[in-house]
């Protein structure tokens, strides 16, 4: 049940974009259309999950050799290499999927939610709801985070599509109004705060 709790908490209560401030660049950058938002979310979910598993294993290696200070450098290289690999494999295996995700893949290297989640899981400092932070709960956390990212991005893109049709004061056009909308969305998500503790009580944890 604790896994369900991690799942719920990472999507709604501690949403990676709207309350943790990670992955804001793609959130603001590729949210003009719902279609592209869906593509980006899928690409992020894909890379985030694989990157979390690989970096978790690498962290074990680094710690074994007492090289903890190489963490940042090793992780970012792994993520960059992984993105390249995913790109090459997708191109060969599924050209259709590559067509859909291809343009987003290079952008993912500098998406800080990937590196951020990888570091959180490797250090075991994410909210594991009282579970021992291990690979399984880490992966559950990564997948849920990716879903939370996708949810925020797609909802936001839906709002921005409507927003594009509205008359808006000159100075507020573009990014300013988008940020204000993001703020309102974050406020809506704040309504979930504390729900995870309530659920924990219901589950008897």
């Amino acid at each position: 049940m604790a896994y369900l709790l991690i799942f719920f908490s990472a999507i709604f209560v501690n949403n990676i974009v709207l309350s943790q401030f990670l992955g804001i660049c793609p959130f603001l950058g590729v949210s003009k259309k719902v279609d592209t938002a869906i593509g980006m979310s899928a690409a992020v979910a894909f890379v985030l999950t694989i990157a979390t598993i690989v970096t978790y294993l690498i962290q074990g290696l680094l710690e074994a050799f007492d090289l903890g200070y190489l963490q940042t450098i090793a992780f970012i290289l792994v993520i960059a290499a992984l993105v390249q690999m995913v790109e090459i494999v997708l191109k060969k295996v599924s050209p259709a999927l590559y067509q859909a995700l291809g343009v987003f893949l290079p952008l993912i290297t500098t998406n800080c939610c990937i590196l951020g989640v990888a570091i959180l899981v490797a250090q075991g400092t994410y909210n594991s709801q009282g579970l021992e932070p291990d690979l399984l709960s880490g992966v559950v956390f990564a997948v849920s985070t990716a879903i939370g990212f996708g949810l925020a991005l797609i909802v936001f893109a839906g709002i921005r599509e409507q927003l594009a049709l509205m008359p808006i004061p000159e100075a507020m056009k573009g990014m300013p109004i988008a940020l204000v909308v993001a703020g309102l969305l974050a406020m809506a998500f704040m309504g979930f705060s504390g729900v995870d503790n309530g659920l924990a009580a219901v589950f008897g944890l």
């Binding site: 009282g130 021992e132 705060s193 504390g194 503790n197 924990a200």
Partner: protein, 192 residues
């Protein structure tokens, strides 16, 4: 100077060179900063113990670590020449773990506390560091711990405005610290 061509040997050479230089620089700086970092952690703990016991330069005589059933560190007890400080954790705070250090007077009342680790909302959860102090709005100093609860739950401690969850987690951690403290001192008495 002409730009190097993108041939395989060139690329491999350059990447290896950069990686080696980077690794050497990092290893060197790591070796110089290692000791100050350890020293900082030690000072932070010593200052924390001094602050919660309301003394200067308390000397830790004995440290006991208590683990929970999963083998995680649940609490640490520092016996000093000036009293006992207990570190305890609550796992159900807003952003995960909340770690507190609580100092106890001989009668078991709270002498002082400090927060060692928090993942609460920046700027908000951090308020707990001041809120429950003697001059704060929800002072717990001098109170008997064990069953402290926020006023919303029928207790007599005022919760931090808009952070009931953090306040509850904080009080649970303080109560856990007292639990450990009383168990430890109970064991100590028969030895006399």
């Amino acid at each position: 100077m002409k730009k190097l061509q993108s041939t395989l040997p060139n690329m491999l050479l350059v990447l290896t060179l950069i990686a080696v230089v980077a690794a050497v620089a990092l290893a060197y700086v790591n070796s110089i900063t290692k000791d100050p970092i350890k020293e900082n952690e030690r000072i932070a703990l010593a200052e924390g113990i001094d602050a919660v016991l309301n003394v200067k330069g308390a000397v830790v005589e004995q440290t006991d670590t208590i683990k929970d059933e999963k083998g995680k560190v649940a609490s640490i007890i520092y016996h000093t020449d000036n009293g006992v400080a207990v570190q305890a954790v609550d796992h159900k705070a807003f952003g995960g773990d909340l770690v507190v250090l609580v100092g106890f007077a001989d009668d078991g009342s709270i002498k002082g506390y400090t927060i060692l680790e928090t993942h609460e909302t920046p700027g908000l959860g951090e308020k707990a560091g001041k809120w429950f102090q003697a001059d704060g709005k929800g002072s717990i100093i001098g109170k008997q711990a064990g069953s402290l609860t926020v006023s919303k739950d029928g207790g007599d401690v005022d919760a931090i405005t808009a952070s009931t969850i953090t306040s509850r987690a904080f009080l649970r951690a303080v109560n856990a610290a007292y639990q450990t403290y009383s168990e430890q001192t109970m064991e100590a008495i028969p030895c006399e």
